[in-house]
Amino acid sequence: MFQMRDRKMADEIMAKLKSMNLDIKIMHVCGTHQDSLVKHGLIDMLAEVGIDVRQGPGCPVCVTTPEEIEETLALARAGKTIAIFGDMLKVPSESGSLLKTKGEGADVRIVYGINEAVELAEKLDNEVIFIGVGFETTAPATAAILQSQPPENFSVLCCHRTIPEALRILISSGPVKVQGLLEPGHVSVITGSNMYEFLSKDYGIPQAIAGFEPLDVLMGIFMLATQIKNGEARVDNAYTRVVSPEGNTKAQNAMATVFDACDVKWRGFPVLPGTGLKLKPEYAKYDARLKFAEILAPVYEKEYEEPPGCKCGDVLRGEMDPQECPLFAKACTPSSPIGPCMVSFEGGCAIEYKYRRKD
């Protein structure tokens, strides 16, 4: 949506950032921000003016745990129809991947959204299980569908996670010390900008919400840099054309009606209290974990390790750049990925491979 003036305004922002003589570290939690930063070369330009932009756990596929992948595999192997986002398909786990299981005859369908999974359940007699992955952008759709009384043969394996509380843990006890947070534009459409205010108040951390065009990202970072430089801490919004202070209250209400917060592990992190979503008891009949408890029981008897040698955890904590992983572009490529960060379009390793691989 921005065209002719982009370059001029981008140059102006970069010149101003340069004149600020910065030496700061900031973090974003959004795979799409990482894509924009790397694709347009912003990440290197920003490094030159003293802004180290780290990626955090912002790729929903990447932060799903090996155990959640194993749950999905167990359900597929038990003959259930699995409806899943395409970039979950290749995520490898100890006992295989969904793609491999599909090759062995399991009924695995790629859907673009939960609405397609319900349509599938309406057509099929088989049990259809939607793998509910994603943050606040995706969770309201799951909530709205469950409120609309989908068919009895439909259920959800709920792997949704929420961002603001995870951010609190990240900045209060996370391994990488950052001076500012760039908040994800489309998660914020749902949560609203007010939702982040407690972080600035309680932890003195500057924040800015940004969209995904290169200029959106630069403007958000400029707002952050200005706050850091001036010793301020508040929530700036560089995406006012889409993000309001209160967010989408209809979506928030749908989530509050259907989900309870729960404790959940994120890949690369320990259990993060209150950052997961589980179905409320009223929706138990759609909860795949309850409906298929017997099939899933053996999954929980084991502890699952990260793939050997994979550094996705370090990448997701912002401690390591993908190219520092010894397996990057060697043993691990998008066609034979070892960890989820090389699978998902929003994964740091896949983004790095696509735009910045040094042959």
């Binding site: 949506m1 921005f2 065209q3 002719m4 003036r5 001029k8 305004m9 102006e12 922002i13 101003k16 004149s19 959004c30 795979g31 799409t32 912002g58 790729c59 929903p60 596929v61 986002f85 970039d87 673009y112 959204g113 939960i114 609405n115 397609e116 992955v133 994603g134 943050f135 952008t137 995706t138 309201p140 759709a141 709205a144 569908i145 609309s148 994800p184 489309h186 998660v187 459409v189 749902i190 995904f212 403007m219 400029f222 707002m223 200005t226 560089a238 006012t240 054309r241 889409v242 989408n248 209809k250 979506a251 749908a254 998902s344 379009f345 929003e346």
Partner: protein
């Protein structure tokens, strides 16, 4: 997964709407999470409209940003003021 796409509602049938994304590309989207009518612009994510968009908000963005940049150091180079006119959006 968190990227949403803007489009225009051209037909509504209960909870579902047909959304046009330009160049004749259309798709169905669930509209239970928004208040819309035919002609509304929406942001669509994974088959759900998650936000109603206003065209003026997009136009205002550049103006707001200019003010932010101005405020940062108390002035812009004068050549910018000269080329005036509405911003591209």
């Amino acid at each position: 997964m968190c990227l949403a796409v803007p489009g225009k509602i051209i037909e509504i049938d209960g909870n579902k709407a047909t959304v046009e994304y330009g160049e004749g590309v259309t798709n169905k989207a669930n509209i239970t999470l928004v208040e819309v009518e035919i002609g509304s612009y929406v942001l669509v994510h994974a088959g759900f409209a998650i936000k109603t968009l206003e065209e003026k908000d997009a136009l205002e963005t550049i103006e707001i940003w200019k003010q932010v940049l101005d405020a940062a150091d108390g002035g812009r180079p004068s050549e910018d003021a000269a080329d005036g006119g509405p911003p591209d959006a």
